[in-house]
Subunit: 456 residues, 2 copies
């Protein structure tokens, strides 16, 4: 490829009259971020110096300090920590899943597995039982009489034909989230779940699960795709017995913190715009895309607006939330505090779908507000936004929306690669591209500028 490229040409539908001042200002934001952005360096620090940082862990406490120092260094008018109690789940050791018998004959095939977040451990002796492999809940229900004393293996695939991979995640995700209790209802002693991914490698993908308190709590772990395929094939051919050892347990809830930086509003200091991502990550990786990207997007938007001398009308809060992955307590606390103080929140934006090239934003707001936002398309389109559509937000700003009906938005990146690494060991710094990451911050900063200037 060596031809000269052509610039994006705005499609005819975009040829509305827009403020030239805004266009120039957003170009200034973009140049600042693309030329001088610190998001990538910050992400390197967070992923390599702090690493995996599940809520309640020592690494999370380190991340909080890193967040505070970084916000201060990047020019926040003020920075503070907002305390909240967080769950403290620990993996407790290496998860081990081994095929020990096939067709009554001894075997020793180690499968790569990760205990699901919030699951209980098997105890040191583990659980050894026959496997019942099911394609889905329909099959589980049909075979409910066979389940007692068995380990249920859900092999529901991540549908490759969905163009938006989050749709497959939603559909397959019920097995990870609820599969244990659904199986425990019929007497299963543990569950294994096919990982929520289409990755071509064999890494298992963890993630939160929830027990239904009506049924016994049983261990639960995810398998990588190659091992899931192998186990499925073996189970279809002959009886398979496996041994599962997981060591997970909850320690008492502990103190965590949201990290909050502010640029103080010049006209409406008591009206808030929130921009955020979550500081916690799973324990097995560096949390680079999930959600290191959202964290450094958040700090970068603040840094860039400050660096170019922007004085916001409203107070803009940049929030690194405490506990998205396995509790959501940070977002709940933020909304509860806002309610207790009777704050006025005019908008909240979250980045929690990875640091990939931005495609736009999804919005949860009134139709009138959405029309207003969509009129800004010509201003954001030069930076990659081609989608300003209904539906969106994020789990950490959700409580704010519920509390105040605050209009919400979520950054929509091109996340075709996301579920390859999501909640797996492979969500590391090296999986993030610098330009793609910075472009996310450009579009977020542009949107925040427009909302601060024009309101909703």
């Amino acid at each position: 490829m060596k031809k000269l490229y052509l610039l994006f040409l705005l499609a005819p539908f975009m040829a509305g009259a827009q403020s030239n001042t805004d266009s120039i200002f957003i170009k200034k934001i973009s140049d600042e971020i693309m030329a001088n952005g610190k998001a990538y360096d910050l992400l390197h620090q967070l992923t390599k110096q702090v690493g995996g940082r599940l809520a309640g862990s020592p690494q999370f406490a380190k991340a909080v300090q890193w967040g505070k120092v970084s916000m201060e260094a990047m020019g926040a008018d003020r920075v503070y920590l907002q305390e909240c109690m967080v769950p403290h789940w620990v993996r407790g050791g290496q998860d081990k899943v081994t095929v020990v018998e096939i067709n009554k004959k001894k075997e020793q095939i180690k499968l790569d597995a990760l205990a699901l977040g919030n699951s209980i451990g098997s105890g040191p002796k583990g659980v050894t039982a026959d496997v019942i492999a099911v394609a889905n809940y329909d099959e589980l229900e049909k075979r409910k009489d066979e389940i007692k004393g068995k380990i249920v293996f859900y092999n529901y695939p991540f549908n490759p034909t969905y163009i938006v991979p989050g749709r497959a995640y939603g559909e397959s995700g019920v097995y990870r989230r609820s599969g244990a209790s659904r199986a425990a209802k019929y007497g299963a002693v543990a569950v294994l779940v096919r990982s929520l991914t289409e990755a071509t490698d064999n890494n298992p993908h963890t993630g939160a699960m929830v027990y239904d308190e009506q049924y016994p709590k049983i261990p639960a772990a995810a398998l990588g795709l190659k091992d899931a395929d192998l186990l499925w094939e073996k189970c279809k051919a002959s009886p398979v017995k496996i041994s599962l050892v997981t060591n997970a347990h909850f320690q008492p809830d502990t103190i965590g913190h949201n990290v909050i930086g502010e640029l103080i509003g010049t006209e409406f200091p008591d009206q808030y715009i929130t921009v955020g991502g979550h500081l916690d990550s799973w324990d097995v990786n560096e949390g680079a895309h999930d959600d290191g990207a959202g964290v450094v997007h958040t700090i970068e938007v603040m840094r860039a607006l400050k660096a170019i001398g922007y004085k916001p009308k409203h107070t803009i809060r940049f929030v690194l939330f405490a506990n998205e992955e396995n509790g959501g307590r940070g977002g709940q606390k933020y909304a509860a505090e806002a309610k207790a103080k009777n704050e006025k929140h005019i908008f909240a934006l979250e980045s929690d779908e990875g640091g990939f090239t931005p495609r736009g934003f999804g919005f949860t707001m009134s139709a009138e507000q959405l029309i207003k936002v969509q009129a800004w398309m010509p201003l954001l389109h030069p930076y990659g936004t081609s989608d300003l559509s209904a539906g969106g937000g994020g789990s950490d700003i959700g409580p704010l929306g519920q509390t105040f009906k605050t209009p919400l938005s979520g950054l929509i990146p091109d996340n075709q690669r996301y579920f390859d690494i999501h909640h797996a060991r492979t969500d590391v710094f090296e999986a993030v591209n610098k330009r793609e990451l910075l472009l996310g911050a450009v579009n977020m900063a542009g949107l925040i500028y427009l909302i601060d200037k024009y309101g909703l």
Copy 2:
């Protein structure tokens, strides 16, 4: 991130009445490719079993055989090779650039360098001379009297503020392409060029250069960014002497081949639609994005149309071009043969900007034709296309456009990551994502189906 995603919502401007049959058919294409696509496996073969394959090399001959066998295996109605003479440039050994003196004191700093494609070697003794580091051609012109006997180092940066990275490539690319002769004009003995990239690593990026026959031919090599920064800094502080050894040379032109597969048209077998990518790559990498992706896109479009039983009206030619990188002879030959046979070519599509998530297509065609194509947006938008704009094609189909005024198009992927690996050792299979690659083929196949069905 754990919320349910929302599907893309078609923006209001897209709500035109469109054929439901077409929508269903394109979904069928998409499902076939996303669930059963062979592009990723084919790319693995091409990159790992064949590897780097510059025109004229034994690896290129191997690639031709691989292409023929693959086209046959994937269901082409007929497959044939189109012979053309190609240049045969060889690197001839390891390129070595070493700082040997700083401020008249001996040094030994090895810089990572790659000779530029089509450049001549230094001879085994190499060239040792003082460096004159210039920011751009303006500085070269101002300092033209200092250049004689020196090695010119162009340190023109890849502009990070351009949102479309191809714009930076175009702007910086003149130093790679023409820098040697511009410097030789004033007596330079060799040139070094800052690589055309923003990569965060230090890999040099090769690529084609051209000598102006008026001036002496001098060696030319690219430096990775870290070494370019280092050399720039050293040169700004003190006189620097370097030694450069490159071994490149041309062997006589040799026989190469375009690989052509066809699906024969049922109504207009003598009217042709061309879909293509280039089979050759640089010697130092696996040519995965450039242009292995275009090669397997091409084969995948053919495979999928055949697999779902589509009978094209026109003959669709799937062409793996012979010599894009350092000569363009494959594309020239294809157009010349078409002209000699007085063929009718109604459309040509090229994929040569990498195997990243597709964003749309650029078109070189009449305004009326473009309007017709743009009306198909609602049919392609569900698969990622949001850009159907004027301007586009590719260097291998360019000669066809010049010969017949054939309407041309080029796939536009999201190539923010492209220049990180473009023409560098890092353009390997592992840099390509399976879903992103397959989605390119989905959109290409959808467009080809619509053009075959409705014409232009």
